[in-house]
Amino acid sequence: MILVIAEQQTGKLNRATWETIVGAQQMAAAADIVVLVPGTNTSGVAGELAGAGVKEVVTLEHAALEAYTPDGFTAALQDAIGQLKPDYVLLPHTYQTRDFAPKLAARLDRALITDVTAVKKGSELAFVRPMFQGKLTADVVPQGTGPHFVTFQIGAYRVDQVAKGSAPAGVRALTVNVDAAAIRQKPEAPFQQAKQAVDLSQAERIVSVGRGIKEQANIHVAEELARAIGAEIAASRPICDAGWLPMERQVGSSGQTVAPKLYLALGISGAIQHLVGMKGANTIVAINKDADAPIFEVADYGIVGDLFEVVPAIIEAVKS
């Protein structure tokens, strides 16, 4: 049996859960898939997930799970996995999963394969994942006894690929023991650092810069192109970390997710943390001196070359 662990906060489902259900459906028939919903206020989310082609949805409610903590989730899920006895445990590769899944797998002394983009069926199941910043891909097979833990990269599957059930799956509740006093982390309420003055998600065109821009003094090269084509300026994480552009212009898993008509990536290598924030763009153009940069894998058009030569030429071509 394959157990999918759903992610939800205060009754709101993280959509990446649907993608993980697609992953489960690639591996097994609906009758072999169970979705587990840990937290509080799970009934709405459980009802929503029951529409998927799965055997059943199991809710896991406990007062100690109201605010997420790795200690609380590890204790609750250890108990639940002991009761449900799955062969595989699948999760979306979110920041929350990254916070507790390695602890849970280590507690149970089981394999954890992270950031998986596809499943290969052969004599044994192999999981496809990026390595070396996306420069290489590996097929990985879990070792030892199950359950094996697997996390799926955000965007590995599309939500609309979920096979729906002919009738809603059954929903039942599971009871677990969690010693609330043993939870060592005391979380406070989540907050947003600054009001996002720039809403890049609404931009029609975006010119985005990465490490290839080399220094802050060169940002104007990208800004001139943005002005010429009526685009917003954005950046990958290292540029905002360095303070060359404000944090609110960061695209990627820790910044904004964008889907413009045109995304022009200048000197961006295409680390997966950046790609998840922009691969929904309609047309992607990559300009990079490294022909092997992973950004070219998601680009529609690419120019391999020096951005300091290519960008001024584009500005000139646009104006003529």
Binding site: P142, Q143, K186, E309
Partner: protein, 253 residues
């Protein structure tokens, strides 16, 4: 405060990947190596905490003999001493084997705080820090952007997705995984490089019977999901053709 920083040596960013003959790992002989970037931020954070609260910073690394290069660099930046779990098998080890090796060498040191980067630029498991916390029996928090350690408790700012953050408190000792960009990195001074030569690097053996939990059966360059049109020519020719395609094919200009 006695602080451990776990660092990994990874191929540098400019490295062009080449596979070994079995096509299950890279040709290490062709690679140039550097300190994993998030680990460099973890080291910097440890040095800043030591400057505030006193104590010592101990660099811990699990890997083959080549790892000594990044250990020396960390000592030159200001770490006080190092522990090197040396084993050729650790070069391509999974997160469980690496965590076991580090935990074995660290458990008797009684560190107040253990820092490491949130993930490595080579295999990118994003697991070692969290598994290490479990093996050492310590609380943890991940993807940290600010650290406040006062009076035996720790208050840290966790990065959540999409521009959200959260403060989390926990008792010391604890393990934190540090996000890139938490601070501004310092570079080694000549004085630091000279001083590093006299600093202690304790060698430790990898624990026996630590079996991998995952096996790489194939490694290859990524299959393209999209058909990318690479536009050739001089910068002027390529730019002109790109603009034409964006106007006429994609209709986005």
């Amino acid at each position: 405060m006695k602080i451990a920083v776990c660092i990994k040596q990874v191929p540098n960013r400019e490295w062009q990947p080449r596979l070994d003959d079995a096509k299950t790992w890279i040709r290490e002989a062709d690679a140039a190596f550097e300190m994993n970037e998030p680990d460099a931020y973890a080291l910097e954070e440890a040095l800043r905490l030591k400057e505030l609260h006193g104590g010592e910073v101990v660099v811990c690394s699990a890997g083959p003999s080549r790892v000594a290069q990044v250990i020396r660099e960390a000592l030159a930046r200001g770490a006080d001493r190092a522990i090197h779990v040396e084993d050729d098998g650790l070069a391509s080890a999974d997160a469980f084997v690496t965590s076991n090796a580090l935990a074995g060498a660290m458990k008797d040191e009684q560190f107040d705080l253990v820092l490491t980067g949130l993930q490595s630029d080579d295999q990118g498991f994003a697991q070692v820090g969290v598994i290490l916390a479990e093996k050492l029996g310590l609380p943890h928090a991940t993807i940290i952007m600010e650290v406040k350690a006062e009076g035996g408790t720790l208050r840290v700012k966790r990065e959540l997705e999409g521009g959200w953050f959260q403060w989390v408190a926990m008792p010391l000792p604890a393990v934190l995984t540090i996000q890139s960009g938490i601070n501004q990195l310092r570079y080694a001074t000549l004085k630091g490089i000279m001083a590093a030569k006299k600093k202690e690097i304790k060698k430790a053996a990898a624990p026996a019977g630590s079996t991998p939990k995952q096996k790489i059966v194939a490694m290859y360059t990524p299959e393209k999901g999209k058909k990318t049109q690479i536009i050739a020519g001089t910068p002027a020719e390529a730019a002109k053709e790109l603009v034409r395609k964006l106007r006429e094919e994609a209709r986005v200009l």
